[in-house]
Symmetry: C2
Subunit: 337 residues, 2 copies
Amino acid sequence: MGKTNDAVTLADVARAAGVSIATASKALNGKTVVREATRRHVEEVARSLAFTPNPFARALNSSITGTIGVLTADLANRFVVPILLGVEDAFGADSTSVILTDARNDSIRESHQLRTLMAKRVDGIVVLGDSDTSRPSITDQVTVPVAYAFAASQDPEDSSFTTDNSQGTDLAIDHLVSRGRRRIVAISGDPTFSAAVERLTGATQAMQRHGLQLVGGENLYGDWSEDWGRQCVHALVEAGLHFDAIFCASDQIARGAIEQLRDENLRVPEDVAVVGYDNWELFSVHSRPPITTIDMNLQELGRAVARELIDAIKGQPHPGVHRVPVRLIPRASTTRL
Amino acid sequence: MGKTNDAVTLADVARAAGVSIATASKALNGKTVVREATRRHVEEVARSLAFTPNPFARALNSSITGTIGVLTADLANRFVVPILLGVEDAFGADSTSVILTDARNDSIRESHQLRTLMAKRVDGIVVLGDSDTSRPSITDQVTVPVAYAFAASQDPEDSSFTTDNSQGTDLAIDHLVSRGRRRIVAISGDPTFSAAVERLTGATQAMQRHGLQLVGGENLYGDWSEDWGRQCVHALVEAGLHFDAIFCASDQIARGAIEQLRDENLRVPEDVAVVGYDNWELFSVHSRPPITTIDMNLQELGRAVARELIDAIKGQPHPGVHRVPVRLIPRASTTRL
DNA sequence: TTGAAAGCGCTAACAT
DNA sequence: ATGTTAGCGCTTTCAA
């Protein structure tokens, strides 16, 4: 097979530059001391030959391979991709490459993927969950540093980055209160998710700080659907409750709520202001009116995890659960006043 | 740093098995002839030592690295992830690992990612587009086999896998006709996308095969939104046109159309049957009624591209644009009769 | 059928 | 400041 392989090796560069291989290596790596002139010259030659060091040769004797593995719980989940983008971005800047594997929410498959990653000698692993409910640690299955994203590890010795639901609810409630709303309802989602619980208790506490109480009680759990938002609003109105704002634990719920409010002849935001959560633009932007919501900064979360893994690989891990700050995106559903 | 590295090398296995390194290598690789008994023995020892060959050492002298690169145009695009899952799945089965990079729809960044992938010595590259509109070839930028997914390469010498819009429209129209519909409208999307054009001309031709013509003309282009679906239906009704079915070039359009039909007091599917496209379940399943639609089998498309790249790496490419078959998912929006 | 030896491309002592 | 020399872990002639 007459393959014309890349084949520009350090030896080629050294020969062309008239130095030894070792000198060429030193010149290019900037580690050891080399005369400035030779360095320049070698670099020049290397560039003109389009030399790229063979990462395999390098990895063979450096114990660092320049690749990390990402194990996603479920790539199809809409929270995963933004985080993955952040991870990819940060590692790209660090010029280490990202091997992607997906567990499809199957623990057998997950173990298999972990073995594959170890066999590939990755320097570290990012475990990317598909909800912010904590998950089992994998430290007993691997021998490299691990950082957890979105779903924290259940082992507090691990380094995890997850979203700050408590800050999110604070932002949401403060926003509503600052706009003069006092009679606030909080509609949460499926209580089997930490997010549902944390966002509802967070809202409750935020209200307390203002000396207020949630209208309609502190247990409006359901699921994450538009339907649940509609149902809930309908029931509240039926019950004759008065409220001037709703905090919803997801944009989907918020959208359902807004539609039902319209059906009940309540104006948004004039009569009832609505805040959502997630900033899922499909719902938050295209709702009528567009929904004020909490953006979890998932891409930034991804970058944070990547930075942590880079540190951990260098031997500087920061164990514990780190909460990545969120931000409020104001839109028309709360604008007036 | 007292690192207890993986460190189980072939040498360890050989020593423990009482054979030479060369023999151990042969026994484990099954290439060369080794006595059956020794093979078994070596394999046994390797297993008991949990030996995994160092892929870097192997890659150093085999010219094949066991990694491929995926260059996505835009990971955030909803069509990309299903394809990526298929790709990942197929390469997992082939035990080659997938390095993920994302171009964020930026050609500068794309070139950069390609250089990175080449530097990592990938055996091949999958270029994953974010629409089915064809795109420039990258063959001049790389020296390994490339296969294109979703968006075909503009160079017919390349191997591309894209979706079969013409089969999709045939399925849709045939389905409607077989259900007794004759006065069929076709609403397409943004005409700057091949998909919009191909789906509308495909529908036109499918109608012709049945000796029928599209009601409302053959140029209902707009955008891919619910709004456009609504507007269009509204205009058709205003114009006093009679129709008993609508083929929409996307589920989003279909959902808008269905909602407007309801507002116009037309029943779906009794008065008007509706077929969508994409099987974006968020819209197709949760619409009322759920929408009959065309599923592009994107995951299968991903697998097909992966298989092609594997072949191409072996030196057996299949140049040209390959159309991956789609399928119709019948749901309530066309059920009656 | 098995083993000895040479090298893949690079880095890192050690010498010069 | 530069060059020489060993390897890293594996595959692959070539001999035995």
